[in-house]
Symmetry: C3
Subunit: 181 residues, 3 copies
């Protein structure tokens, strides 16, 4: 980060053929934005985009948000299932330097409390330089159920990769940072 | 699927040097067939094969069952451990378009309730076009313990990849399909 | 193993820039050695090394311990997080013939009982010929919490890959071997 401590930017990438064609309203992206505003006390800006389920397009957007905008965090929604058009995890794996399998494991395990089809989600997470990328499902209800279980580890993860220091509203979302590494 | 709604085919591939040499009886394959008949109310046909623990041979069979026979589902048994001859997951990864890590995670997690050596199983699952492939262990008792935890998600997964609509006998196996995607 | 039943060797590889530079004492390596002596009743020798967080250096050491020394087991400590210098899992994946995802899944899941940041650990395990390699975190407290959950499966895993027969002190660490494969 530079000397002037710019406001952190968080990217929200809604991956959906129908939302990008204007057939559906972008509800998943709005659900993410609302959760981030509810949980984070640190001021942040959003970089927001809706794209179709095309791996090359998703990769270009993830790279732009990470490398050009310098997002501390990018959350994607949708495209994580087994259907032919679901390619968000492939795009994520392709642009990440390091994968974090624990995110997908915990989100699937948490979702299993609600639906047995949670195992069909191929969502993952990883880092690209100083940006943490997390895949989320497309359903707004599932977005909260998934993001709330991994979010306590998100600010410390961003610390570790050299991103901005994010603080949460402890009453609604308690971030965890180990006292000594 | 074509207009005439052909009977769905399910492939059972028993991977075992000893069973393929006729030294052992093919108990794992029979255990799978019995479970499928117990759980599925939709009529189906079986495509059944016993092969040795040779990656190239397993791949050829998986491709034949998927591409030539058009299986909606293939279950493999055996060859998922850490021993030198255990190569079923490698063959599965090689032929799949998409991997579904949630299957292996849940099956190992469920098996851990029975034996601490459950973590030695490298079993996975994935899709090849319209075919879902699931690795199972070789022991009949473990086959049930593994397949019963993931099976509630199997019919919906097959829906999502464009396969036939499978129904289960709800009293013994409750499949789950979300009301709206 | 040859006819004379040599004493099994276990490798401990502490991956740490600061410990290898002598800035930190090698506490993680010593914590591993202590646990192994506490749990294993079979006599064994240690091969012990501290290296910096350099993927090529870690790979060379893992290969030396496996191929030249013939270690039955290698445990690494440190370098499993998301930071730029954390490359132990990458080195492990590069030298292994087979990966054992169940180890990382179970260790992360067990660590989650202590800290929500457990999902940031990318630790894995795998085999290189007759050697089992397990990544552990760098903090001594976490080392015990992680190794104790997977260790019951370690002796049988080493049996399956053709390594020496290891026995544990049942009062403190109960190894599990299935009665019939």
């Amino acid at each position: 980060m530079n000397q002037t401590h710019p406001i952190p930017v968080i990217g929200i990438l809604n991956v959906s053929d129908r939302a990008s064609a204007g057939i559906y309203e972008d509800i998943p992206g709005k659900a993410c934005a609302e959760l981030l505003r509810e949980w984070l006390s640190t001021p942040f800006e959003l970089d927001y985009k809706v794209v179709p389920d095309e791996q090359a397009v998703i990769e270009v957007e993830l790279k732009r948000m990470a490398d050009v905008i310098g997002c501390a965090l990018i959350v994607t929604t949708g495209g994580t299932g087994p259907a032919a058009r679901d390619v968000t995890p492939e795009a994520t794996v392709a642009v990440c330097d390091k994968l974090l399998p624990g995110f997908g494991e915990l989100m699937r395990s948490a979702s299993l409390k609600y639906v047995p089809t949670a195992i069909l989600s191929r969502q993952t997470a990883g880092t690209r330089d100083r940006t943490l990328i997390i895949n989320l499902p497309g359903k707004p209800k599932s977005i909260r159920e998934n993001l709330e279980v991994v979010f306590p580890a998100v600010p410390y993860c961003i610390d570790l990769i050299g991103g901005p220091y994010l603080e949460t509203r402890e009453t609604v979302m308690k971030a965890f940072r180990p006292l000594n590494k």
